[in-house]
Amino acid sequence: MHNLAGPLSQVASSADVGVPAQGPAWASLIVFLPLLACALCGVCAIVPAMRRTKLPAWITVALLGVSFVLTVLLYQDVSAGEHAKTVLVTSWEWFHLSWGDAPGQQFVASFGFYIDSLTVLWMLFVTGLATLIALYASEYMSHDVGLGYCRFFAAFSLFVFSMACLVMGDNLLLLYLGWEGVGLCSYLLIGYFYNEAGAVAAAKKAFIMNRIGDLGLALGIMLTFWHFGTIQYAELFPLVAPYVEALKAGDIGQIPLVVQAIPLLLMVGAFGKSAQLPLYVWLPDAMWGPTPVSALIHAATMVTAGVYLIARTYPLFAVSELALPIVAWVGTLTALLSATIAMAQFDIKRIMAYSTVSQLGYMFAGLGFLTSTGAAFHVFTHAFFKASLFLCCGAVMHGFAGQLDLRRLSGVSFMKGWGIVGIAMLIGCLNLAGFPLTAGFFSKDMILAEAFVTPGPGYALAGWILLVTAGLTAYYTFRVFFRVFVGPQHAEPGDEVHAHDGHDAHFHPHAPGWAINSVLAILAVASILAAGTYFIEKEQHGWVGKMVHGSTAAEIVVGEGEHAVRAAAFRHDLVGEHAIHGESHEPAGDHATPEEAGGSSIAHGSFLGMDPHAVMYYVSSLFGIAGILTAAYLHGPRGLFGLFIGSRTEAATSRADALVPALGPLVQWARHKWYVDELYDFLIVKPLWVLSHIFHLIDQLLIDGLVDLMGRLPSIGGRSIRPSQSGVLHGYAVGMASGLAFLLLLVWLLTL
């Protein structure tokens, strides 16, 4: 390893791009204000007079708000010039161990921040959404004012602090600190209602699942230091540069296996935190936490940490031959699987949870399809509309005493005071369903089109799977909308009815107050406006594209102009050929669309013989609208918007009920409504449903069985040697003497 690090660093210093400039010192405040908020909430918990008020909420909202404003200022600072610049801000030196002066003989991890446009992009929506959701939570958590309230906001602020460390840290160790920190806060907040066994179990599950991923991440970081001798981004990326050059030259053989193994390990961490296929099961259970938590942590920010990690270390991923195809396929399969599960659920919050897993799958697929722009754009749009969807669900849950069953609610948007919730929900659903011209539509299209453009192992098939998934997404999204928000007005209270107004006999659904309504309105507007960012800086795939291109996450491009190809190690045949002949591969659909002219990528694949970039808008619209119409047909209320395809006149029934007699022997199995509805979904998605259950089974066997086995072996070992601890002095003396004899004999026999 030493031998490698030496020449490498020489290469780096000869081709030194220069250390990034020092940034404004106040940028550290973005990180530390939330920490201050956390400390102040702790103080509130100690002082009884402050504990009984909503003070913790206001402290949190105010400090997070300042943090957001500072982020906006930072954005202006960073993106002021032509090109987004990279700056470093160092708060203090955390670790500085040195054993020599040569490069690679220091271990430095400072409490410093690496700020480029990717960082700012992430921080913008993290702090912005955190502020809004804290405001929302100030009302949502109001029946818990007291110690619990303080605990909630302390953990909430601590979460923002950790997330900021994760995103802004200038080294992998600080990223890991943030990574563990968000995991810890997630654990604390999922288990917020610790009196309920389910919440505790869910918290544990999330924790353990994340640990598995973290192990991979930790090993990846160690391997990075082992090989490159640094974990500081500013030093690491110049060291990766020679490999990227090798990749561009088509000389994959120069890239050592160790470098290729690093992303494979980092990836495991990303899969855990972002709930991807082997490790996704914790996220649906995480819905035990209060809804604002689900919206912020488990939909908008924390779960995108995996995407951030891969985007941040994108050059490392690009030089690995295996990493990106695995990422693409894991993302695709996750998207499909969780969409099918979401179709079978009744709990609207759980449906949203599965949809989050599914959308995260899209983002990973996007990364795998070499469009980090698409992935980042989807993260950005998803953050807004998914947060708003969750907060709508939360408003419903808050107003109807914990009711989340879509069969027990109907026509909510027509009730007095629920208009804003209904509209926000509609906007969110349209976004999620990929309805034409919404933000979710553009961001999803960007990923879908690239699936057909990028040549990769089975990427076209993945593209088709994702298209179908888009249809399924539209179906389950509007199933919720049609059943809960439109139709005849009906509401049954949930089981938290006693917790509310003090008298349990009567149940008053209470409409959301100003805080919830204003937050929902802002989010709904924001998720519409997010679509607009696609048209800013059009030649760089929108504003998000510009932000991504200015950072380390930018796609690696070989060639220029029309001949440009996005490069990754698994495309080395293509890249090599390209580099050697200096001309681009000429596939059928090479003609770039007007939007793509001057863009940095060029089409190499085709969609049924057409240019994917051109037709994908229409194709995906088709799938989305088909899904919505199916939902309208099966679950829509009678006379909806003059479409007259719906039939539902009661909350609990839908046209799907008509299928009941036709089901023959299965009907008795479906006496309970739960089973009936699940059966309808079963008939629609039968093969996939079976698949998902098989997966569940494997999941249980694997995790539970393994844990059981691992747990039992040591105890068996312990029981078998326990008699040695007999408590009798002579037993111990004999043990010592025979141990002595054994060791002497062993040493004598084996070595002398």
Binding site: E93, W94, F95, H96, L97, W99, G100, Q105, F107, A109, Y176, L177, E180, G181, G191, Y194, V200, K204, D214, A218, M222, M710, G711, P714, S715, G717, G718, R719, I721, R722, S724, Q725, G727, L729, G731, Y732, A733, G735, M736, A737, S738, G739, L740, F742, L743, L744, L746, V747, L750, T751, L752
Partner: protein, 535 residues
């Protein structure tokens, strides 16, 4: 001889304080007797400060380790002293407050604090040892007082049982390493560690290490492993920790263990880490980076058994003190990995000795907290030692509960606690030394440890309280110690780099350890190899 005094001021301070405490503690006036703890604390603090201020001790095999380990001993000792406060003489004091007079023969305060200080003096003397006689005396000075402290720590017969087992098995262990020392002397003709090292390397260059010297070294290591509670000398640990008051157990888990590890490092430094693994006899110098094969094999087997036995036995316990006792065995096993890896490698993360020293410091800090929680809870006038006492502690006794959670997680090596930063270097140094099998076993053992440490963390945090909450001790200093320890387990992370660097510096072997001799021997062997190849 005179110049050596310069490094002994900490010990001299402690000794003078011991004299004061011994007389103060039998004073008929209660107010005076109560000053014992204060005087001890002041002396420890002064000693630690003086120790830190002193420079490297040139005659020691580990010149920089002398100030580092004395400072560590002083500050962890201070923390331990907070827990130890109020362990003895409660009844005697109460009787006197009720006007029944002072029964000097029943009072134990003088002995208790004086013996604590003696033990600390012994630990510091261990750190400055450069001679077998000195090392022997220091080790005995460290452990003899602890035998008494265990016995008088409570009035229950369990403490006396613990005392019996500890004393007799301890005497057996001492006899074994003393015999080892005598053989080492017989084989090399000197008790000075530097001279022994030179002699051994000269023997190796002349063909092979003298058998008697090697047997002496092996016997000494096995005997000293009693102090660190390593297999096969571990049997006493659980019974002694359980029988002694929790406060004394807190001390037992650090002071003799630190002394034992210093002794092992000193002894092992006489042969050094510059031996080739490939040599069949393992007693000739090679170009490799390893201990001589007999010593490596011995420590390897001990490390593997120690961590495994400690962890699997800890799984079955219901007594918190027994869990901590068995886990303390396991931690010794972890640290042995660092000893085996040795101080080679330019980087801190490759330096096993630095890892061991840093782990000792971290373990000392975290461990006090866990024991302080047990020492702070009372149930019907006795220590609440059962796991059930921890249930829901975060809600009933939040300070104690969270202390337990943090300390247990840190002992587990949970990421971003002190324990994590302590454990990672053990792994990396093991890998750097090429001890892959050992590192894998270390990893598996860390996983096993998670079972019981997570239980210690989950019971206070997640479970419902059972029955009434355990009563708090009347000694607030213990709770303070626990909170300080938990604070250190979290806060030290922010400045861990500083301490790691100190540990790395402390792990640089002294000049006399035969580096030159070994270098020439290495060259010779290489040359002879070439010659053979030529022929």
């Amino acid at each position: 001889m005179i110049e050596r005094i310069a490094w002994l001021w900490p010990e001299i301070i402690l000794f003078l304080a011991t004299c004061v405490v011994m007389v103060l503690g039998v004073s008929p006036r209660l107010a005076l007797r109560r000053q014992c703890a204060f005087v001890s604390g002041l002396a420890l603090f002064l000693a630690a400060m003086v120790a830190i201020a002193t420079g490297p001790m040139a005659t020691s095999p580990w010149p920089q380790m002398v100030p580092f380990m004395k400072g560590t001993a002083g500050f962890v000792g201070l923390l331990t002293l907070l827990v130890l406060a109020g362990t003895v003489d409660r009844e005697v004091d109460r009787d006197q407050e009720l006007g029944r007079g002072f029964a000097a023969l029943r009072a134990n305060r003088a002995e208790f604090y004086a013996f604590f200080l003696f033990s600390m003096t012994g630990l510091m003397l261990c750190a400055s040892a450069d001679d077998l006689i000195w090392l022997f005396l220091a080790l005995e000075l460290t452990s003899l007082p602890t035998y008494v402290m265990v016995t008088i720590s409570t009035r229950r017969s369990r403490s006396q049982e613990a005392g019996v087992k500890y004393f007799f098995l301890g005497a057996l262990g001492a006899a074994i390493f003393l015999y080892g020392f005598s053989l080492l002397y017989m084989g090399t003709g000197s008790t000075d560690l530097g001279a022994i090292s030179t002699q051994i390397l000269a023997q190796a260059e002349g063909g092979a290490i003298n058998d008697i010297a090697m047997a002496g070294l092996v016997l000494s290591l096995i005997g000293v492993s009693f102090k660190i509670a390593a297999v096969p000398m571990h049997f006493y640990t659980a019974d002694v920790y359980q029988g002694a008051a929790a406060s004394v157990s807190a001390m037992l888990a650090f002071v003799p263990k630190a002394a034992g590890f210093i002794a092992i490092l000193l002894l092992v430094s006489t042969v050094g880490w510059q031996w080739g693994v490939a040599d069949t006899a393992g007693v000739s110098l090679g170009a490799g980076h390893s201990l001589p094969e007999p010593v490596r094999l011995l420590l390897w087997v001990m490390a593997v058994f120690t961590m495994t036995v400690g962890n699997v036995l800890a799984l079955l316990q219901r007594s918190i003190k027994r869990i901590l006792a068995y886990s303390s065995i396991a931690h010794s096993g972890y640290m042995l990995v660092g000893v085996i890896a040795g101080p080679q490698g330019a980087r801190f993360i490759d330096n096993g000795v630095a890892a061991t020293l840093f782990y000792l410091l971290s373990y000392g800090l975290m461990n006090v907290g866990a024991f302080a929680v047990v020492a702070s809870m009372e149930h019907k006038g006795e220590e609440a030692d059962d796991l059930d006492a921890l249930r829901g502690l975060c809600r009933t006794r939040p300070w104690l509960g969270w202390t337990m959670v943090i300390c247990a997680l840190s002992l587990l090596g949970f990421p971003f606690t002190l324990g994590f930063f302590a454990k990672v270097p053990l792994f990396t140094s093991g890998i750097a030394a090429g001890e892959y099998a050992l590192v894998v076993i270390l990893g598996i053992n860390s996983a096993i440890a998670a079972f019981y440490y997570l239980r210690l963390a989950a019971l206070p945090m997640l479970e419902e309280p059972v029955g009434e909450a355990p009563a708090l001790t009347r000694v607030p200093a213990r709770i303070v110690a626990g909170v300080l320890s938990a604070g250190a387990a979290l806060g030290m992370v922010l400045v861990a780099g500083f301490f790691m660097e100190r540990a790395a510096r402390a792990a640089v072997p002294g000049l006399f350890d035969g580096t030159h001799a070994s270098q020439s021997a290495t060259d010779q062997i290489a040359r002879s190899g070439e010659r053979r190849a030529d022929e």
